[in-house]
Structure formats: C-alpha cells, structure tokens
Symmetry: C2
Subunit: 428 residues, 2 copies
Amino acid sequence: MKVALLGGGTVGSQVARLLDVSRDDLTQRVGQPLELVGVAVRDLKKDRPGIDPSLLTDDPVELVKRDDVDVVIEVMGGIEPARTLMLEAFAHGASVVSANKALLASHGAELAAAADAAGVDLLYEASVAGAIPLLRPLRDSLSGDNVKRVLGIVNGTTNYILTKMDEEGAAYQDALDEAQRLGYAEADPSADVEGYDAAAKAAIIATLAFHTRVTLADVHCEGITSVTAQQVAAAKRTGFVVKLLAVAELLPDRAGVVVRVHPAMVPRTHPLASVRDAFNAVFVEAESAGDVMFYGRGAGGQPTASAVLGDVVAAARNKVTGGRATSQPTYAALPIRPVAEARTRYTVLINVADKPGVLAAIAAAFAENEVSIQTVRQDTQPEGGAALLVRTHLAVERDLSVTVETLRALDVVDEVVGVMRVEGEEGA
Amino acid sequence: MKVALLGGGTVGSQVARLLDVSRDDLTQRVGQPLELVGVAVRDLKKDRPGIDPSLLTDDPVELVKRDDVDVVIEVMGGIEPARTLMLEAFAHGASVVSANKALLASHGAELAAAADAAGVDLLYEASVAGAIPLLRPLRDSLSGDNVKRVLGIVNGTTNYILTKMDEEGAAYQDALDEAQRLGYAEADPSADVEGYDAAAKAAIIATLAFHTRVTLADVHCEGITSVTAQQVAAAKRTGFVVKLLAVAELLPDRAGVVVRVHPAMVPRTHPLASVRDAFNAVFVEAESAGDVMFYGRGAGGQPTASAVLGDVVAAARNKVTGGRATSQPTYAALPIRPVAEARTRYTVLINVADKPGVLAAIAAAFAENEVSIQTVRQDTQPEGGAALLVRTHLAVERDLSVTVETLRALDVVDEVVGVMRVEGEEGA
C-alpha cells in the first residue's frame, strides 16, 4: 500500500513519524505494509526531522498523478491547490484522507462526488475535533438512529479563553493575550474568535448528522469578541457557564435544519459545562440513543495525526479488501433554514428607569411578540436605575429579535445591554 | 436485504419497531430495503405489540438455517442456544449483529473465527455501553494509534447506587433498594453489584484496545457490595468520588495486559467523576490522541436498539457493496498478567493505638515493601485510638497486599479497615 503525503507541517511531520514508528502495528491492522512514497512540501530547504529527505518534493501534482499511490494524505490546508490535488488523486484511483475543514465545509459535495465516481474513499475525521472519534460514529454508529440536535465545543482557542474568563474572572483581551502567549491562539486570532473555524466544523457535522448538504455559507456565525467579563460572571452567579457552541438542529416536523455558531449559556450540570481549556466535546441528541457525548483534544499535531492515521488504516484496508467506507449520504436534502427560525431560550439584560410600571411595560413587550418569560430578576443599580435580567422560555429567534427592537423603542428602557442564548436546558 | 431477529424482549421489540418506522431512512443508508423475515421468541402466546404476528416463530434454528437471510440480529442473551445459533448463521452466510456481552466475552475467539471463515461480519456495538459508540471508534478510529489504558464506567446500576451514596450519603442497601424500586437494578442484583456485568464488558473492550484476546476469566473482579457510606463520605471530603471502574491497561514496556473491575476513588476533576446516575462513560488514554471520552446511556431497550441498528446498517451495507467490517485483530497476543502486577495508587484506612511511635511503625511497614507514601492523615477517634488514612504513590498491587499483611501483624494496628484503589490521577 503506497501512501503520499501532502504537507510537512505540524500534522504532516507527526503523520510521517507515526507511519514510521508504528510500521509493524499498521501492517497488521491494514493487512499489508504501508509505504510512504513521497512528501510534498512548500520549502525543500527547511529541516524536517523524522522525514526521510529523499521522499521530499515540492511538486505535489507529480505525486497525486502517480497511478501506483493508494492513499493520498492531505494536511496542507487551504482551498487551493488542495482541492485540485484531491480531485487529481481521485482521478488516479487514490483514496484521500484529509484534515482540511475549510475545504470540506465549502467543497464537500464536489469532493464526495469525485470520490464516488472513482469508487474510492474520502475520509476526514481529523477535520473536526482533532483526535476525537466523531465523524465515523455520527456516520456509521448512529446510522440506525435519527439525530435531532448536535451541540459542540469544537474550537479549543475560544474554549480556553472562555474558561479563563469563567474561572479567573479575566477580561476577554487578557484571556486572549494569555492564549496567544501559550500558543493556543494565533497572532491573528480572527478565524478562531470570530467563530469561522467552528462554523466550518459545524457545516461538516450537520451534513453527516442530517444527511443533508450544509456548507460554510449556510452557518450563522457569531464569535466571542463581544463577550464581557460581566456577562460571564453573571452567568456564573446563576449556575451557567458561557461557551462558544456549534449548534446543528432539526426544526420541528423535520421542516428544515438550522446551523449556528455563537456564545451561549450552558447550565453547570450539563456535560458540556465541564469541558475546560483547549478540550473539545460534541454532544449529540438522538431519537433512540438519547444523549451521547464525545470528548478529547481538538487540536495539536499528534492528536490530529492519530485521527489521520485511523482514516489511513481504514482507506488502505478497504483497498486491500475491496470494500468502501460509507460516503456522505445527503439523500434527505432537508431545507436549510435561517437562524431567524431557530428556537431556543434567551437571557436579555436591560437597563431601565427605576419607577413603577416599568416591569409591566417590559413584560408586555415580550408578550406581544409571543416570547414567554421564565424569570425576571431586578437589581437596583448604585448609579440609579435598575438592571433587569429576563430569562425566556423556548422562543423563535425572529420573535426575540423583534422583542429587542420593541424594548429599545420603549421610553423606560435606557439600554438593552446584552442578549445571550441558553442551550442545553431540559424540557421543551 | 433480509434480516432475522432472535429475541423479542425489551431490545428485540424496539429493534423490530425501528426497522419499521425508520424503513425509508434505513433503505437510503443501506442502499437497499431491509426486510424483517422472522422473529424467534420463546413464547408465541405472549402479546408483542409492534411486531407483525405472522413473523413470529419459536424455532430459531429454522430461521438461522435459511440461506436467504443476510443479517441475523441476536438479542436473546445467554450463552446457549445463542452461540450455536450464531455459528449456524455464519455457516449459512449471514452476518451477525449481537448485543450479547456474556457470549462475546467468553466465546469471542470462536465466533470471530467463524465469521472470518465465512467472510461475513460479526458486530456487537450494543454489547458494551448501550448506545454509546465505543467499539467502532476503538477498533477503527483509533486504529492508527496505541491505546495505553481504558477506564470505564460501564454498569449503570452500580453507578446509580454509588451516585446516591455520594450525593445523598445513602447507605449501600438503601441505595440498592431504591435502584430496585426504580427498575435500575434487578430483583437478583448480583450480576451488576458483584461486577460480573462490567467484567464481561471489560474483556470485550480490552480485546479491541490491545489487539489481544481477553476473556471474562482473565478479568479480576470485585463488586461494590462492601463499599460503605463512610468510605464514600471520606472520599468526598478529600475531593474524590467512588466509582465502579473497568480498567484495562498495558504494563510498562508492553510486558502484558491487566484487566480489572473494582471500586476506585476518582478525583472530582476527572471527566469520569461527573458521570452520574445510570449513565456510562469510557475514558481512553491513547499514545497520540491523548485522552478521549465517550459518554451516554449504557442500557435500555431503545438506546441499545440504536446501537444494534447502526451495526445492522453496517453489516447490510457491506453485503450490498461487498465490503467487510474490520474483524477482531488479536495479532498482538500480549500476555494477560494477574492483578498482582497492576500498578496504581491506594488509600489504606487503619485503626491504630494512639501512642508515640505508631506512625513510625506504620511508615516502616510501607517502606520495607517498596510502597511509597504520598500523604498520611491522622484523626483521633472519640472512642480512643486513632484512624490513619494513608495515600500511596504508584505501587505494585502485590507489594501493597504484602504491606497490608505486614500492617495486620503489627501490635499497634487494631484493624486495617479498608483499602481502595485511586484511579485517574495525573502523573506517573
């Protein structure tokens, strides 16, 4: 079994190392030895310890055009040239293992079709939640079940920042600085903190969970940059923790799928609440299985390489035995609905005048927009006025948005300070 | 694709129901319709809502001897006739999906060999931890990695009892009574509370994790019947929770595998500590992936049926496409070592005379047996004498056993009240 590697960075070098040190085990598991026949890198001059220099090439096209390569591992990242190289690999009969979430979330349909046409495998466990076995269980283990909702903490950088804010009361900027110092966040952290990374993963998860093609463009995305220490502390006081969640869910009566990424309050008693620091976890609500959760490291060269190699073994074994992995079945083709149709619970923090009748006016604003209030907490402010913290029952996002507009127009309302969704609470 | 069902109990009736209500989805996922052609039950007179009466038979042999059956689902339980029926099914070219942990843990090798000889699938995700996708991830997703240790809460009954003891200070018997009242424990609870159920699951997990055949007889097994409210409360005071753990681990230098089931103290900060009530979770420590955890419902008709159907889809799909699931590769064939060679941490509670020199004598008993003490806590007893709580560093089980014998022979020791293992702490 001949294997070609595209990319010699953090993940690529670990993949090359593990192919070497685990040679005997992998041979047993595949049924034939795996031979690394080439590693395409951008810079041939860079020192790459653990990779046999004679395997290095800066011509990835030549590598994927070889007809004797059985499995191509793509860990270079980015849309191009990765996409073209993968299509070329399929055309030459190779299966492809990829860790490229951006590419899968945007061009998944094209790539899956090309793999199907060639009768080979396209596997990408490493693209979501690093080392956590998630996509194979979603695709295969739950294939006799119906997923209703997925709640995921799928970005380690933001979870690290929010953990610091929750546990140490840190301000967002201070927590981000520390994450950057420790290497959990990049110099330009926007892909993480704006939620784009999580959104790509949410699209991949939703596609498998609902047998419906979901792309990055379908995902409503809000990051954590405007989450304040005050919000996190207020959540903590009331038994919640703020997490950046990727939510993929079926609307009632299977009317469609909504996929969204945003900060949310999660009850401390929910299994996701104890997922700390850079760890990831994905919580799946299925019709028959009930609640299942997958937990582990979401990033890092070695964990990601573990997921890549698991897929390499599967793809190579299929080549040996003549089988094929389940492809991406998108037969359900449910409509993708906008976030305005999502149904969840909310907290709304409102600064109001401290005088009689205020609460009645506020309550009326919610009621006339069909948003039912669960609790209201009123705190008199030292500087005058009062702060109202309203928690709603399940409501439709569009109704909540109109409610907020209505509130803003009220004379008694000084400011709608913040709105945050609440996820993972029991009951309808 | 023709499917035969052996067993019409809690799980069987849910499987039959889901095959019916999910017909369209299953057809899409398999690539062909699944047709239930027979349900073998013990008592034909019993009312079985949701199962077409014309499918019922009390002759399972006739069913598995049909050459047109593609997948046989075995959810009858017990060793015989399940074993003979499965072998017969393989001989007639059917793949088998089973939820039978006792059979798999005792006759797994024979069944796997028969499936291999017939070139069909033997899948049994439902046999361990109900609906939680665990065996497929262990077998396939981690196939590029090396598992070092597995810690599992795999019995819901005992976890329910221990949760009540921890959270409400309940005595063992009271918690058991409540579990029986609520249907979490059987009238004869011994299979659960003595640890046998967990031991069968531990054998199945260890076989897949270490590519080494482990049977029920290889598993060291202690139940929870002698766990006291005092022990649970003492653990709680020091930041631990008592759990019945299934532990499967590699010895240093891959010298062998030890598999054991026993109550253990787990730090509150460990992800397993928050697994409450009848939930199950399995924590896997792998060389590259790091720590991964799987969480969900470990029992119940519908969750178990979800796992069964996931395997049915996989087996049927393989029949359609000509592929085969990974069989149980036991190539590593590591030696199974006795629990005496296990290395873990311990707490030892000792009632002693309250006089000078006692601590020195106790410490000497540990030291001369190569067991290093981490902390000692001495509490003067109201009735005279003192209680010593000793926590050790990592030690070999055999050395700890000899230490306890040495302690018992000491004049200053009134009684060694309890010994409990500590699992899930950081560091070597």
